[in-house]
């Protein structure tokens, strides 16, 4: 059995369309091969969520759409269309 670890890719899509441009991104690599921190790149790793899927990433969480709370219709807060994707990758020696 290969010794696998989860690698997580978080992509904020500018609309709920999986083809739309990425506005924010983060990578957490459970294999420890890559270390990422804030501000470490100026361009997203993929042009869209769909492009990441074509490269083998599995979407494991879709953002849900909620109607605005009454009185909060114009408020903005967290990034709404955030998709979480994973790959399972082998660790060295696995």
């Amino acid at each position: 059995m290969p010794d696998l670890r989860q690698k997580i890719l978080i992509l904020y899509s500018r609309t709920p369309d999986l083809n739309s441009e990425i506005g924010s991104w983060a990578i957490y690599d459970g294999t420890g091969k890559e270390r990422h921190t804030t501000g470490d790149s100026d361009t997203p790793p993929y042009a869209s969520v769909f492009a990441a899927m074509q490269d083998g990433w599995r979407v494991i969480q879709f953002p849900q759409l909620f109607p605005a709370y009454p009185g909060m219709e114009l408020s903005t807060s967290y990034l709404r269309f955030e998709y979480i994707l994973e790959k399972m990758e082998e660790v060295d020696g696995g």
Partner: protein, 273 residues
């Protein structure tokens, strides 16, 4: 402290502040003050802990030829007065230090807690020495200031389209709305990096405190509709909130840009005969 009108911000600059949540003044502070600030910090002549909070800013650092002199500069007084008015209160300060060889960026955050006011505090981010990209400096996310979030709830993000690291010459001052998202960046050099932060509270209604001679400048509606690339589908909501903020700052409750609030505020009651 009386401020000469020529040092006040313009309406165009205020519109930039409303759209971006920050203003940047490169190499504004003279080198002799920057050097003195570095000496005060190195020799701990400035408290690294908070001073008593809520006191008038004018009462702090009166003898200081570094930090105090920076604050007393007419240009800095003009910026402060334009945004929070005369006689602001000291909220807190913090000399930030990032040690050499520090490879981790700070997590993204906005300071304090969810803050629902239109009234706003400002934070001065002062860079007293040259700060190349490999040294940091502070990373900001322009246009994030009106988002209602709680401090480090945004910490799982790493990068945004349009994020703006402060790479600057000594003496650069960034003045931010209290809600701006930001994080300290790694320092890959062999030198300690300083950034001096100071938060100020208004004591007056923040109403037309700047030089309003250009209040009707035709650039302003376009500035208020500046689209930061990371927004995506929320851009129109940001514009609506900026129009509301501009109404607050100008006292013009009927102000609109591109008809956006006029449309959704139109609820006629007249009965057609």
């Amino acid at each position: 402290m009386a401020v000469d009108r020529k040092h006040l911000l313009t309406s165009v600059q205020m519109a930039d502040f409303v759209a971006d949540g920050l203003l940047r003044f490169d190499a504004l502070i003279p080198e002799e003050i920057n050097r003195e600030v570095m000496r005060e910090l190195d020799e701990r002549r400035i408290n690294f802990g908070y001073e008593p909070q809520g006191q008038p800013l004018d009462e702090l650092w009166r003898e200081s030829r570094g930090i105090g002199a920076m604050i007393r500069l007419p240009q800095v007084q003009g910026i402060i007065q334009s945004l929070v008015g005369p006689d602001p209160l000291y909220d807190h300060h913090c000399p930030h230090q990032v040690p050499p060889g520090h490879v981790e960026g700070q997590i993204w955050h906005a300071d304090a807690i969810i803050d629902t006011r239109q009234h706003f505090d400002i934070q001065l981010f002062y860079f007293p020495h040259d700060t190349p990209r490999e040294m940091g400096g502070t990373m900001f996310l322009p246009g994030s200031h009106l988002r209602r979030i709680h401090e480090t709830d945004i910490a799982r993000h790493q990068n945004f389209l349009g994020q703006m690291p402060i790479v600057c010459k000594a003496g650069t001052l960034v003045v931010g709305h209290h809600g701006i998202w930001h994080c300290a960046q790694p320092n890959l050099t062999d030198k300690l990096r300083y950034m001096f932060k100071l938060r100020l509270n208004p004591t007056v209604r923040q109403l037309r405190l700047w030089n309003t001679d250009d209040l009707n400048d035709p650039q302003i509606p376009g500035i208020l509709f500046r689209n930061h690339r990371w927004y995506g589908n929320d851009d129109r909501l940001e514009y609506a909130n900026r129009i509301k903020f501009w109404r607050f700052l100008t006292g013009d409750d009927g102000y609109d840009a591109h008809y956006w609030l006029t449309r959704i505020e139109n609820m006629p009651e007249r009965i057609a005969l």
